[in-house]
């Protein structure tokens, strides 16, 4: 029974000691300790959050880079394509021009030839005319050298006229 009979002295001292211990610990130990722990947790949380943020930023940065790279690549492709197009166009143009030129030259040559031909023909015609006149003159001279011949000619001509 003695074991379960609380002694007043011990109750008194326990109360006093516990109260003092509580006050001292609360003020000088728990407050700074819990404060520091909370502060540390807060700083860890902040650090984690900022790391997360940095990661996020890094990700956007990376994706930006990726985007820029893709754009650059696309631009390069476009430039190359343009260059190719221009080259082809230039070649085509050059080809066209050359063809036209050659055609023109050919045409000119052809015209020239034609002209030359015409000139030659005209020349020839003139020559032929001159020659014909000369021949005719000579023939006429010989035909008309005697009266007989003149008469037969007239007869011949008259015969022709009758036939007509």
């Amino acid at each position: 029974m003695e074991l379960v009979t609380p002694g007043i002295g011990l109750v008194f001292w326990t109360s006093i000691v516990f109260a003092i211990l509580f006050v001292l610990l609360a003020k000088f130990a728990w407050k700074p300790i819990l404060g520091a722990i909370k502060e540390r947790e807060q700083s860890i949380e902040d650090a984690l959050a900022s790391a997360e943020k940095a990661k996020e930023e890094m990700k956007t940065l990376l994706s930006n880079n990726e985007r820029i790279l893709t754009e650059a690549r696309a631009e390069r492709d476009e430039l190359l394509k343009d260059a190719r197009d221009i080259r082809e166009k230039m070649i085509a143009e050059a080809k066209g021009l050359a063809t036209k030129e050659s055609e023109r030259l050919l045409q000119a040559a052809r015209e020239n030839i034609q002209n030359e031909k015409m000139a030659a023909i005209t020349e020839l015609k003139n020559q032929v005319a001159v020659l014909s006149i000369e021949i005719a003159e000579k023939i006429l001279k010989s035909e008309l050298s005697s009266d007989e011949k003149q008469k037969s000619l007239v007869n011949n001509l008259l015969q022709d006229v009758n036939l007509n």
Binding site: G7, I8, L10, V11, L21, F22, F28, A36
Partner: protein, 367 residues
Amino acid sequence: MSNKIKTFRPILTCIFALLLCLNSSFANDNNDGAVAEPTHEEKFKPTEVIFEHISDSHDWHFWGEHEHAVSLPLPVIIYSDKGFDIFLSSAFHHGTHPYHGKYTYILKNDHIKVVDETEVVDDAATSKIIDFSITKNVASMFISVAIILSLFLSMAGAYKKNGIAAPKGKQSFLEPLVMFVRDEIARPNIGAKADKFLPFLLTIFFFIWINNLLGLLPIGANLTGNIAVTLTLALITFIVVNVNGNASYWKHILMPPVPWWLYPIMIPVELIGIFSKPFALMVRLFANITAGHIVVISLVSLIFIFKSMAIAPVSVAFALFIDVLELLVAFLQAFIFTMLTALFIGSAIEEHHHDDAHAEGAHAKHH
């Protein structure tokens, strides 16, 4: 919660059974001995030894018996109608001499009694004195307070010095315990207002734990196994819980959510509940710690009971096992006490709707 108590019930049962066996068997032994060898002084009385170890004392006893005992005298402070009497317990010469102060005192079974001129105990006068002595338990409590303060004040100093840097040395040992009380005891049981009660819970946890551990030392005092100490601690919990109890807590007690005609039964039950909770705290801590001490001393006593060295290895092995178990119990009891305190505070400050709470309660009971 009751699961935890149930876990310890078998152990407690064994311990008390053992204690009862020892008690009865040695009571018989004593009687037989008294008849057969009335002059034999050296008869070993384990119950006396056990009770000497688990009871409070006015001397801090180290070794030796009676007049040859080596002990540290402690201050005796007695308040009576004539005022205070303050003297060292060595004045009693281990209970063999009276001390003449405002009354004449003798030390009988570690209790101070008032005697008259013929050295006969005066019960009427004895009942009037109040013993405020610095007993072995009080002294041990002072030591524990010094240890706790030095531990935590230096820990706090380390935080002031290191700021929020990673904990070092003592910090890294104590911080997890502080965090344990905060994250496993206070916050789950109390909720949002947990941090307000945290200093109290931390103090009570470390006070009980450190004192449990000090009690395990060979010459340590059985402080947390003393009913006065556990009574005070339970009383503090009782005050904290009921002072902080909110309207819904009191409404639940004074207007329980039952039909009005059940009030004559329910209100007394609820009122008893207010007191039975701290009462259980008091008894649980007291019984667990005292039981552990009793088992260890009983095991060691076996050597002297059998008067054989052959039993020593067995006793030592078992005592070692129990001591290691007691290390666990020391922590566990501090944890349970703090945890239940947190739980009671939590239920006292919780804002709840009666219907929901009871529906859940009924639901839980069905499982």
